[in-house]
Symmetry: C2
Subunit: 344 residues, 2 copies
């Protein structure tokens, strides 16, 4: 799902996102709580109405942002005290009020406040964070159940790179019978082999009847691997953030469009791509847009990358339905490893 | 015509511009000559092909930019020496090479190099600039005639706020039989009454069979007045630049969308406007976009302002065709003077 941190997927309109094939987008509770505020969005009728996006929305718990934006002030059993990265004002997130905030935001899928363990972390620290994440998940669920409404609340599994912690946390979350599971604390700096090891370890333990979301992952390669280990849903800023740096994804690898070699390259980014940027514009034109700082350049690279990711997921679904996912994954990984310079 | 300085009308795609009703856009020769360069655009097949805009394009002479961007180094009868505002490199514009540059850019309507007299200027200085503008216009036309192609070259009338200079310059340019006339050097800081006085003075002198372009003007009020004095065509950054500052135009005056009073205002910018921003988004949402620096906000305010200007021109054409322009102008000026706060 494309990431729409501040009630917009950067550079794109809701209509464009639909045309690109987006079926759900993510909003960041932390950012929306600070600006424009959950009350304002509630007054607007919720995020869908406020932003003009009518398909599903998932909001995260805000926990990851409090940690990653260095906004953290103090963490206790009660919750997380943090300072706004905008004006330094002090705030408190608790398992209960984070449910309330997301209720006001009006997302379809919500997340309980969790502790995203940084990497590296000792086993003892990871275990402690796991315990707190579980306690908070339980409190969030209890609070949510007081007035469940139309939203669903997923459970979050932490545990860093430790298999025993992951197994224990998963079992406890499964026992609480959330309607979906989110796996957090991966792709936070750990080696790729640890990501794959944890996913492979968890794969046989995941309940068959619950959707599985892998938070904040990842590269096209990561997604191909994670789906192999049973992951259904992803959110990641990679397609949109890379686009704004001028990096575009293709089936044959990444391309850095700011490069001088593209100055007089009048081919589309990817001749085989059906996205709005590739149907109408050349590498040379998009490079010019990026070089002179024109917004249209960011719009086009973003549209291309989102289309690429959404098409990848669509292709994955087709391959799974055909019972050919293992081969599909190998073939796509091979193609991605080729490197764009050799192939275009 | 919307201004597309760097081969894009800021924030908009070519398709969107068409949908907004744009029939022609302007490109800036000075900027395009520096980046990406006229040769590259020629290699791409010209500006239309390079930028994906298939309707007409007008390119200016670059003269105004050389003066207004303080890039000017030396001006002689031969041409203008200037330094790039980007890297300080030295360049020379002559009447002849500016024709060649615009030939490579491939615009439909081109302009000869001129001297845009700054305001205020003494009569002697304005007279001298007028003479040079005329000499350069003649040289540009002679050079253009060596291989005219499909492009047309307009003539430019200068003369600051002096009626005698304006009359003389106009007559000389008319005698050269350019296919269209551009009036330059207005809206450069002079009082509004001087703009109107010069336009009123020139009105009876303008040839009936040539389109008249007023360079770089203006506000909705200026346009209503200038059309009254016989102007047919305009270009101005006002709709796009104001949009990026959060100022939007309505029939009832301007609105500064960043204002706190719009934070929870869930109406469209203008309930009677049919633009893409007003059909789908609220003031509160657009204000949020602008407040947090999201590109979608700039896209929406720009789309609204361009739609407003293009609709104004369209309404003007209807009123002229109906023989009711004088009343139309009075009614619209009255409406615009009301001020948005009273009326929305």
């Amino acid at each position: 799902m494309p990431v729409g941190t501040q009630a917009t997927v950067k550079t794109q309109s809701p209509d464009e996102l639909e045309q690109l094939g987006a079926e759900i987008i993510l909003g960041n509770t932390y950012h929306l709580y600070l600006r424009p505020g959950a009350e304002l969005i509630e007054k607007a009728g919720g995020l869908h109405s406020f932003s003009g996006w009518s398909r599903p929305i998932l909001t995260d718990s805000g926990g990851y942002q409090v940690f990653s934006l260095k906004a953290l002030n103090k963490i206790t059993d009660a919750g997380v005290e943090f300072q706004s990265h905008i004006d330094g004002s002090r705030h408190l997130f608790t398992p209960e009020n984070v449910v309330e905030i997301q209720r006001k935001l009006g997302a379809d899928i919500t997340m309980p406040l969790d502790v995203c363990t940084e990497y590296p972390a000792a086993h003892k620290k990871a275990s402690f964070d796991c315990r707190r994440t579980f306690d908070w998940g339980k409190r969030a669920q209890a609070h949510w159940r007081e007035s469940p409404g139309d939203q669903v609340l997923f459970g979050i599994v932490q545990g860093s790179i430790y298999e025993d912690l992951r197994a224990q946390c998963l079992q406890e979350i499964v026992d609480l019978d959330f309607p979906g599971l989110a796996i957090g604390g991966l792709s936070v700096g750990e080696p790729k082999e640890d990501l794959l090891r944890i996913l492979a370890f968890l794969a046989p333990l995941l309940p068959d009847d619950k959707p599985r979301h892998l938070l904040g992952v990842g590269t096209p390669e990561d997604i191909l691997d994670a789906v192999f280990y049973g992951i259904d849903m992803f959110d990641c800023v990679m397609p949109t953030r890379n686009a704004r740096n001028g990096t575009v994804f293709t089936r044959k690898g990444k391309m850095t469009l700011k490069g001088a070699i593209y100055a007089d390259d009048f081919r589309p980014i990817d001749p085989d791509c059906g996205c709005p940027a590739c149907r109408k514009f050349t590498r040379a034109y998009i490079r010019h847009m990026l070089a002179v700082g024109e917004i249209l350049g960011l719009r086009l690279t973003t549209a291309h990358n989102l289309y690429f990711y959404l098409k990848l997921m669509s292709d994955i679904r087709v391959a799974i339905a055909a019972g050919k996912y293992a081969c599909f994954r190998e073939a796509r990984l091979l193609e991605l490893s080729g490197g764009v310079d050799q192939l275009f």
